[in-house]
């Protein structure tokens, strides 16, 4: 099958490449751009391990073709740290609150949480859980992921963080 040219911005950088029409965005990111932070965890668009931020939306990159998003502005986990190398509040929050164990769902989880906090600056626990319903985790049981996101929200909003007792 003949390839098409695509160009998009990924983590602030312009990229151009040749892809088959059927090349899934997740494979494009992982294999052609070597951005292996986003992961594949399922076949049916449920797990969210492939989640990236695209044109201001959380999307599952396993369920779109690179050609569909020609011209898009994409942010992946590799683009989350600050320019000076310090961690984004979410990355810090996941570490502080033990919101990860094997780390496989983490990039997708953080990318989704990033957009969630753009949608809602101070989500309560139910809103967070509903907000990450498209991201599965097998290790943490979600409880500390909720805390991680609450930590990040507090930091971004410049308010003190109150960790709920267990």
């Amino acid at each position: 099958m003949s390839k098409s040219q695509v160009s998009m911005t990924v983590n602030g950088r312009a990229v151009e490449a040749l892809v088959e029409p059927r090349t899934l965005l997740i494979h494009f990111l992982r294999e052609q751009l070597n951005l292996t932070g986003s992961h594949v965890g399922c076949d049916t668009s449920h797990c969210g391990a492939c989640t990236v931020d695209l044109d201001g939306k959380s999307v599952k990159s396993c369920t779109m073709f690179a050609v569909q998003v020609n011209g898009a502005d994409i942010r992946t986990i590799e683009g989350m740290a600050n320019a000076d190398g310090t961690l984004h509040a979410l990355q810090e929050g996941f570490r502080e609150m033990h919101g990860l164990q094997c780390g496989f769902c983490t990039p997708g989880m953080i990318m989704r949480a990033y957009r969630l906090l753009q949608e809602n600056k101070s989500p309560n626990e139910d809103e967070i859980r509903f907000g990450i319903a498209g991201n599965l985790c097998r290790c943490t049981g979600y409880q500390n992921i909720v805390k991680a996101i609450q930590y990040a929200a507090a930091k971004i909003n410049g308010v003190p963080f109150q960790e709920a007792a267990e």
Binding site: R22, D43, Q68, G134
Partner: protein, 290 residues
């Protein structure tokens, strides 16, 4: 490997005219691509292998939500996220936002479209029953022109609709329910984002303490969405007393023929359609104003 689609040629028309011409020319070999969150998963499992995909993403005519003289017209490419975020819809037809937030998950809602959800004939989709309940109609375009199809006449069976080859949905026209109507969508599911085990959409109005109008749509309890006209008729003129509700529930159950699957055996899903109907009626009643 179950996640790699077969090869296809990709098309990205820049006008609706171009899109329908292309689809007419491609016939069985071509499929329209909207949000892709029904079609692409099927292509990855190779349950669908279209040789051509016609991406509708570039068609601005298919976007937007607008008031049109007592109706609201929603562009077919409007995403579930845009639907749920629309203040216009939230105020005028709250049932849409309620149903939208019960579809899939946030990422899928950012991309999945209303047009895709109503047009592909998947009996598990939520919006068809909503549209049937609200007596919406679908604005359809082909090379030969435009037509309108009532949602209540659109669904023929599993993945079988009145949409012909070379036709695409351009918009969904929904009559705005007059003020005072109570609306509710009650969906039983195994987990958030799942297809319904059974779901009921209800819109009703009261007058002097009794039901003046009532429309009921049922999701995923047959090979297509159901309009429970008989059940609704039973309720009209009643005060939604338990005995009448019971009769309406029985009438709704009688028209179901759900599949037995991992959600449960058919007889259970039929009963759940009834339970969801009763609960939707109760909530719609709470929200209605006399």
């Amino acid at each position: 490997m179950h996640m790699i689609p077969a090869a296809f040629t990709y098309h990205r028309p820049t006008s609706v005219q171009e899109a329908v011409s292309l689809l007419a020319r491609l016939g069985e070999e071509g499929r329209a691509l909207a949000g892709g969150h029904s079609l692409i998963p099927m292509m990855k499992l190779r349950l669908a292998a279209p040789q051509h995909l016609v991406d509708l993403a570039g068609l601005s005519e298919l976007r937007g939500i607008r008031d049109d003289g007592g109706d609201i017209v929603v562009g077919a490419m409007t995403t579930q996220h845009e639907l749920a975020a629309s203040d216009l819809l939230g105020a005028k037809i709250p049932l849409l936002r309620e149903a939208s937030l019960l579809i899939a998950d946030p990422q899928v809602r950012y991309v999945g479209t209303l047009g895709g959800n109503v047009a592909n004939g998947d009996p598990g989709n939520d919006m068809p029953a909503i549209m049937i309940c609200l007596d919406a109609s679908y604005e359809v375009m082909s090379e030969t022109g435009r037509r309108r199809i009532a949602a209540r006449a659109f669904y023929q069976g599993a993945y079988l609709t009145a949409l012909g080859t070379g036709e695409i949905l351009t918009g969904i026209r929904i009559p705005v329910p007059p003020a005072g109507h109570g609306q509710a969508y009650e969906k039983l599911k195994r987990k958030i984002g799942d297809y319904a085990t059974a779901a009921a959409a209800v819109i009703l109005s009261f007058s002097g303490g009794t039901v003046k109008s009532c429309s009921i749509g049922l999701t995923n309890v047959a090979d297509k969405p159901l309009w429970a006209e008989g059940a609704a008729d039973i309720l009209i003129g009643s005060a939604l007393d338990p005995a009448t509700v019971k009769r309406a529930v029985a009438a709704a159950e009688a028209i179901t023929s759900p599949a037995s699957d991992a959600r449960g055996p058919a007889h259970y899903r039929t009963k759940m359609a009834g339970v969801m109907l009763a609960r939707a009626l109760a909530r719609a009643k709470e929200r209605a104003r006399n």
